[in-house]
Symmetry: C2
Subunit: 156 residues, 2 copies
DNA sequence: TATAAAATCTCTAGTAACTAGAGGTTCAAG
DNA sequence: CTTGAACCTCTAGTTACTAGAGATTTTATA
């Protein structure tokens, strides 16, 4: 809450950085609340004002999220970005884990796609009684693959 | 709450149908609570007992979930399966929507995979300062694709 | 038949990652 | 100086479960 009007630095409102980064305003407040973004200075009327650094931090978070990293992973990545002298094995590990998860999901989904395509192709649009889609859902044996499901949360 | 011991029908406990269908017991109770499964009869000691039909219903639900349908979609599919005389357009629509969602996710994910692979390949394992992974997350311009993220919830 | 272990019951609360709304205040333009 | 957009806090809702507490029932064994 220091010099919010003096100095040469440019300040941004929460709405501005939201628009810029494609983030809804409540989401930004949420990130602050869970400690992902450091609280920024306020105006006398209690409104948040962001500087360049805070803006970049939000961009970092959003981009990491867009890459599919969990908020916990993002937290780790931020920690690393804040300590440039540390080795970056951790970032490597996180990225590799993310890659593996993505590959896993890709596999599951492409099996699902195949299954859905087949179901749809076989549906003749008649009575529900004869609907291939409903039959397939009813009877797992009509499936091409055993793999989807079986255990829980193979997809998410 | 009728004849739970008389008659020829076989009854199953919640644990049994859970094991069979790969569903955790609380999940089954949850499905009942939200009205996805019809409440079944109970023993004198208030424990649930499932018959063949109830067992199949759970299988249906689990399989539909494994195919990626939302609980709401499953609800619709159940309604249809319960009315075999109706036309099955609705099932077709639901399945097509699901297929489209799956294809969408596949696309996003394969872009992500590419991005992650590139990030990881470029990381030299040195200081965080020079880490390609962190740099890429910091600066969207280092990305191959603009598409991932941009708006919100492209993946989910 | 007695007892102990396993399974079940209800209820509440927690998870991830936001999103929406109520009710009130502040900022910027005209 | 007024008005309307943007902001504030706080609570609760979303999806699809999952976990735990504390009590009761069922089942298997001695």
């Amino acid at each position: 809450m220091a010099n919010l009007q003096s100095g040469a630095e440019r300040w941004y409102s929460i709405g501005e950085i939201g628009r810029e980064s494609g983030t809804k305003v409540p989401t930004i407040r949420y990130y602050e609340q869970i400690g992902l973004l450091v609280p920024v200075g306020r105006t006398e009327g209690n409104q948040r004002r962001y500087d360049e650094r805070a803006r970049e931090r939000l961009t970092f978070v959003r981009h990491a999220r867009a890459l599919g990293f969990s908020l916990d992973a993002v937290r780790e990545l931020i920690k690393l970005a804040d300590h440039p002298e540390r080795p970056c094995e951790k970032a490597d590990t996180i990225a590799r884990e993310q890659l593996e998860a993505v590959e896993q999901r890709l596999e599951t989904l492409s099996r699902l796609r195949q299954e859905l395509e087949r179901m749809i192709a076989c549906c003749d649009g008649g009575q529900a009684r004869n609907c291939r889609i409903l039959q397939t859902v009813s009877d797992h044996r009509l499936c091409l693959h055993e793999q989807h499901g079986g255990g829980q949360s193979s997809d998410r």
